[in-house]
């Protein structure tokens, strides 16, 4: 419809205004983090740093335990993502391609646990961690939320489309169940594994409540815990804090910009859940 296309340029006005609203907080914080402390609180504020400096970043590294928090966060994110991928892909495959006693019940069970609020379990989970000796360890953050029903669900939905004949053919060639999983299923599942990887990285990097429950030793803080702790203090040292906030958000933003399509596929599948 040609005439509607021509009127459509009006839609750019709301699009641009909303884009500014979405972006300016991020840009403003980046700009603020590059100002010396005097300019940070100047009135009127300068939009672009007048006395550009990296001091806030330097002191974030030197005066806080930032390197430690960064290492903890990266370690938790990587280990948790590997674990999440392994156990959820296996479970998702079993539920997608095998029919066995109880498979229907297990599937319904998985679907019904999708909505369990982990927040409602924080007290008993804390007790379980303590009893297992995982309290105040990074593994205490990593293991418990790894068995995510969402992960199982995503993999299962995706693998449903793999034709049984392919697996039967591999069996006739003498491949074992495990070999079929490794050699045939995993390569086929690559796109959904990419989605799950990206999701897991996002969940773990951003997680606050679980590290909060599992950790009290400040040497084991993740970036999120450290930031929450600093901003809650009586006198906030804004300069280095903003620099830390920027350093915390930038890796995920970069990952998003590179792997956009995997995010989009995953979230759109959420919409197709039922």
């Amino acid at each position: 419809m040609k005439h509607t296309k021509q009127q459509n340029w009006i839609l750019y006005i709301p699009l641009i205004l909303i884009a500014i609203f979405m972006l300016f907080p991020v840009l403003w914080v980046v700009s603020s983090s590059l100002k010396p402390s005097g300019e940070l609180f100047s009135w009127p504020p300068s939009i672009i740093p007048q006395n550009f400096t990296l001091n806030n970043y330097i002191s974030a590294f030197q005066e806080s335990n930032f390197t430690r928090y960064l290492f903890n966060t990266v370690f938790v994110t990587v280990a948790a993502t590997v674990l999440t991928l392994v156990i959820n892909t296996m479970a998702g495959y079993a539920l997608a391609k095998y029919r066995f006693r109880g498979s229907a019940v297990i599937l319904v069970f998985f679907l019904s646990t999708l909505m369990i609020p982990l927040e409602a379990l924080m007290i008993p989970m804390f007790i379980v961690l303590k009893n297992l000796g995982l309290y105040n360890t990074l593994w205490g953050i990593i293991i418990p939320p790894a068995a995510t029903p969402t992960g199982v669900f995503l993999v299962r939905q995706y693998l449903m489309s793999v034709p049984d004949e392919m697996i039967e053919a591999a069996k006739i060639d003498g491949a074992s169940d495990w070999k079929i999983f490794i050699r045939l299923i995993l390569p086929l599942a690559k796109p959904i594994l990419a989605t799950l990887t990206i999701f897991s990285i996002m969940w773990r990097w951003q997680d606050y409540i679980w590290p909060l429950i599992a950790i009290s030793d400040s040497n084991l803080y993740t970036l999120e815990l450290a930031l929450a702790n600093f901003v809650g203090q009586y006198s906030v040292d804004w300069g280095p804090l903003l620099a830390m906030a920027v350093l915390t958000m930038v890796p995920l933003i970069i990952i998003f910009l590179i792997f956009q399509r995997f995010f989009i596929r995953g979230i759109m599948m959420t919409g197709m859940k039922d």
């Binding site: 709301p14 369990i116 609020p117 007290i123 068995a147 606050y208 998003f256 995010f263």
Partner: protein, 287 residues
């Protein structure tokens, strides 16, 4: 498909089931048990029957907190749903550059609650914040965005929408792309304008997805915690202390683990009811 060795599928499920059982299943049972006890988390728990629930339900502080949480949820859910749908609609008009706008609108989703709260905490500062500076340009007195109880709630609502709208927008985009274009073409032949098409085709076709988004929003926002921690700290004077933070403080702050467990169980029941409603409604909507 069947395996010759019947134990094979169970072996594939085992690692997941073990971790889920130990760290989610077991705590779920513990949680129910603890909610009937008085317990400080260290010494042994004493069974006290329904006493915790009695304490909670007769505590005016609990009702104030629940009411506060509900007000926040009732404000933030419709706002998020309408904005997400609006953005999704704008991005499916076939405009050039839609992909770029989609990425920009989604960008805040990549920013964690803690960092989002921190960013806006900086922007909304009363004396040095950018927002109050912009308002001062049009002669508006500084607003206590984080220090006035009403404005603090408004701030939390706005930041929640800013942070999460992109996520739900994507779900709506998937829904909009699923509507067959022939429906619109037929309507155009009948002379329907943009608004008529939106009302008579888009809205009814999106009904199931809209319900899903409403429920997802409700469940997520009812549990809002991390965002508040770094934005307002739950203040001023508890004005933005919602359900999960209240539960956390009761257990880990005051050492009332029994009471905290009872609060968690109530949260669990509320979430369960909402999920059931969703199942009922979405089945009904699909026929």
């Amino acid at each position: 498909m069947k395996s010759e060795k019947p134990w094979i599928p169970y072996a594939f499920l085992l690692p997941n089931a073990l971790i889920f059982g130990i760290f989610v299943g077991l705590p779920a049972v513990y949680g129910i048990v603890y909610s009937f006890t008085e317990w400080n988390g260290i010494s042994s728990a004493t069974f006290i029957g329904l006493e915790n629930f009695k304490t909670i339900l007769t505590d005016s502080e609990f009702w104030t907190m629940l009411f506060r949480t509900l007000i926040y949820v009732i404000a933030v859910v419709p706002l998020t749903v309408v904005c997400a749908l609006g953005l999704a609609w704008l991005l499916t008009r076939g405009l050039k550059g839609s992909n770029v706008f989609r990425a920009i609108f989604f960008l805040p989703v990549m920013i964690s609650f803690i960092v989002a709260g921190l960013i806006w905490n900086w922007i909304l500062q009363t004396d040095t914040g950018l927002i109050n500076y912009i308002l001062s340009l049009v002669d508006i007195e500084p607003v206590g965005w984080l220090s006035n109880p009403v404005f603090a709630n408004i701030s939390v609502i706005l930041v929640t929408v800013w942070n999460r709208v992109g996520f739900f927008m994507l779900i709506f985009i998937a829904g909009l792309l699923n509507i067959s274009p022939t429906l619109y073409e037929a309507a155009e032949i009948d002379g329907a304008g943009t608004w008529k098409k939106f009302r008579n085709i888009t809205i009814p076709m999106l009904r199931p997805i809209t319900l899903l988004v409403i429920i997802l929003c409700f469940i997520e926002f009812f549990k809002t915690f991390a965002l508040v921690v770094s934005l307002t700290g739950g203040g001023p004077i508890n004005a933005t202390r919602y359900y999960v933070q209240y539960t956390y403080d009761t257990a880990f702050g005051m050492g009332e683990f029994g009471l905290g467990s009872a609060l968690s169980l109530i949260l669990f029941v509320i979430m369960g009811i909402v999920t059931l409603i969703q199942w009922k409604v979405s089945n009904g909507g699909r026929v």
